[in-house]
Amino acid sequence: MAQAAIELIGINKSFGAVRANRDINLEIARGTIHGIVGENGAGKSTLMSILYGFYQADSGEIRVGGQPASIKTPNDAIALGIGMVHQHFMLVDNFSVLENVILGAESDALLKKSIAKARSELERLEREYGLEVDPDAIIEELPVGLQQRVEILKALYRGAEILILDEPTGVLTPAEADHLFRILRQLKDQGKTVVLITHKLREIMAITDTVSVMRQGTMVATRETAKTTVEELAELMVGRRVLLRVEKGEAEAGGVKLAVKNLTVKDTRGVTMVDDISFDISAGEIVGIAGVAGNGQSELLEAISGIRRAVSGSVMLDGKPIDLTGAADPGELRDRGLAHVPEDRHHVGLVLAFEENENSILGYHDDPRYLKGPFLNIDAIRNDAKDKIAKYDIRPADCRLKTANFSGGNQQKIVLAREMEQDPGVLIVGQPTRGVDVGAIEFIHKRLIAMRDQGKAVLVVSVELDEIRSLSDRILVMFAGRIVGERGPEATEGELGLLMAGVEQQEAAQ
């Protein structure tokens, strides 16, 4: 067995009263791809931040290449050959690739020499690992997949032998992800060590050699990838058996509930984000919108729910028009039976500083059930919240607890409970399970299908292709603000992936 590239021994880290990492032991072999999986809040990011010098461990030891190491800042980590590719890129958008690569590693007061050196170094890296990027391209003009490549180049340029990638495929199309995996394999073949943090078990199975599972701040297991299964990993992550596929019957679609015609929406900068889109949703079906993040899905959701004003287009709800270009506001739409679970539950769907029961009426606070004249009917609100907590198994079952203190999955359940329990005719859901742990995903998917079976029209927007494929009765693919294709649930991932990447329909069919 190869020598360990990194050894973590007895790592502990607390934030105030919260123990984010407890007694973590981990050994990562040199020249392998090592996956770390776990639910949100399991402590993966904290552990990697300790390794990269963002945080200091309260106790424990880090060894790099067999030598005890003291990593106090990211610079220490870089000096030890550890590089990190963050989930959110740390690039200067209006700099060129070269300028970004040398940023912070300039060798001279004048840039000329550094740039020349970086240029030849980049050419070498390109040859060795297939990391082609035009060194003079401006970052903001590059697609996300290439931006990520620049992040990897940055780390390699600084001499990284160990590369940590935090949720690297969240923003990529399937094809881009495949390309990334090819690069990672090449890095491995050249003797580099790769640590991959992800919550997508499929990726773990596809690319890693070894996988470690974290749960509630502890390292619960390490397995050789070849000798484990997705089911076992899911069970280790959650601590109980999990259904990964959603079981559902055939859709019994009824009449059209929501008809969107020629909808065009611009963002705050005036850029057209939704470009002349038309589609229908019928009662009793789930329509999924797939697409890489940033192709207009968010703006579409905001427009349909009345949060963002549309530029043009007409929308009919239950056969009656809604004026999305003018007067329609979210309150009016809610009254007409359109419920919305927004993508961003932290800033839009919830007020984190509120008690749970206060959030359970957000948007419905005009409802006479929750009011006594101008006053809030506190008893009614709290009893109502308690009912929802019981029905949706929201934990902890305390309607007076501050919402920020609930986990991501439970926060999402608070929003879903609020919107579903109003018995809307149309439910539109953005990223139903983003940042939600595996156990809660199962619950949320079942609920959405139950809504469908009750004859509601459900629109789901998600960047998780698996989720779209397993929930939807019809799949619409969005690219650059347009719907570029409609497919049934049997569509293959490759087919959808090509559409998501903007490859023309005809080409995809070939």
Binding site: G16, G38, G41, N405
Partner: protein, 379 residues
């Protein structure tokens, strides 16, 4: 990511931490007193005795506190809606105009208990209208409320100076103030309440507007935590996006909150004008609006906290005056330094000791800080 620090029990959050902050402020202030060559312990005794030692002291302390309760509530109402109303000073000042009109018109014909309600309405309406303009500009034009309310303080001051040296000044007078009000616009004193407890009071300005201030504190609590309007204000204050999502009109909520804030600021003027001086004079607000910011912050934007913080600042005003009198080395400016230290530690640095106290609580009893609920640093 969740917050790195779990919550504390309410008594520690609202009681222990402010007390520790206050204690530190006084320790540092003690060093300042030491520096000018006086005994800090004796200074502290004089300060506290001056404020609470005699009936007259208590009455003065509560008189000042009345003013600060109004301005503190005014700042707090706006703050719950996410608006930083620095214009409390100007709103209170210009409200003096409303009071002057009511009092000068009716003080010879109506008894005080009819003039008073009219004056309350006049003060509230003028204060609210003065807040309406910056609120409208913020809601419709995006002009930042901090900038506009500061500018409106200057405009209010200029208008009042013009009126008090011109139209409102009696012809023969050389003082820039209105004529003195007659009995029909003088508020009854509350000194008898303190005398019930056996204390003697020579003359002190504590008056019935103290009770109005307490009533307003209760109404503000009711508004913020028990009404639909308060719920909407808090939603907007915490997250404008969530408010938009919930169908709350941004324009309406900003204007409503600022007008309520302005009305409370305006009512502050009743206390010195009708309760004490019985005229409207130049600069009668004298910074109480800005003290209101400190009071609101120190009171954690909660009416109970605001009443307590207002009494503390009333104590600093009254006790400070006594201290400056008893210890000539300690000038009036020194008192301002002490007040500044209280504001620094209780307002600006209010979270300085929080992590230590939380760690302490966590080590004693993890449950009490909500350990089970918090999932920790997430991905």
């Amino acid at each position: 990511m969740s917050t790195p620090y779990a919550k504390l029990p309410a008594w520690a959050d609202y009681g222990l931490i402010p007390l520790i902050n206050l204690f530190v402020a006084f320790v540092v202030a003690g060093f300042v007193v030491l520096l000018v060559g006086e005994n800090p312990l004796r200074a502290a005794v004089i300060l506290v005795e001056g404020a609470f030692g005699k009936g007259t002291g208590i009455a003065f302390t509560l008189f000042y506190a009345t003013t600060f309760i109004f301005t503190g509530l005014s700042v707090a109402v706006a703050a719950h809606c996410g608006l930083f109303n620095i214009g409390t000073e100007g709103q209170a000042y210009i409200a003096g105009l409303g009071i002057a009109i009511v009092c000068l018109s009716f003080d010879s014909t109506l008894p005080w208990w009819l003039t008073f309600p009219l004056a309350i309405v006049a003060a509230a309406v003028v204060g609210a209208l003065w807040a309406l303009i910056p609120a409208y500009l913020q809601a419709k034009r995006g002009s930042h409320i901090v900038i506009t309310t500061i500018m409106f303080n200057f405009i209010a001051a200029s208008i009042m100076v013009y009126l008090l040296v011109g139209p409102l000044k009696p012809a023969a007078s050389q003082a820039p103030q209105t004529r003195n009000f007659l009995a029909g616009a003088e508020l009854p004193k509350l000194n008898w309440i303190i005398e019930l407890f056996g204390a003697k009071i020579r003359s002190a300005p504590l008056n019935i507007s103290f009770l109005l201030a307490l009533a307003m504190a209760f109404l503000v609590w009711l508004l913020i935590w028990r009404t639909k309007l308060g719920y909407e204000m808090r939603t907007y204050g915490h997250s404008p996006k969530a408010a938009r999502y919930a169908g709350i009109s941004e324009t309406r909520i900003i204007i409503t909150a600022m007008m309520i804030s302005g009305a409370l600021a305006g009512m502050m003027a009743l206390n010195p004008v009708m309760g004490d001086q019985h005229n409207v004079a130049i600069d009668f607000v004298s910074g109480a609006g800005f003290v209101g910011i400190a009071v609101a912050l120190m009171g954690r934007l909660h009416p109970v906290g605001i009443v307590l913080a207002a009494i503390l600042f009333g104590m600093l005003y009254q006790g400070g005056a006594e201290l400056a009198f008893e210890m000539p080395a300690i000038s009036r400016d020194m008192i301002v330094i002490i007040q500044g230290l209280v504001i620094l530690f209780a307002g600006a640095l209010e979270h300085m000791f929080r992590p230590y106290i939380q760690a302490l609580f966590a080590s004693f009893s993890p449950r009490s800080v909500g350990m089970e609920a918090v999932k920790g640093k997430g991905v």
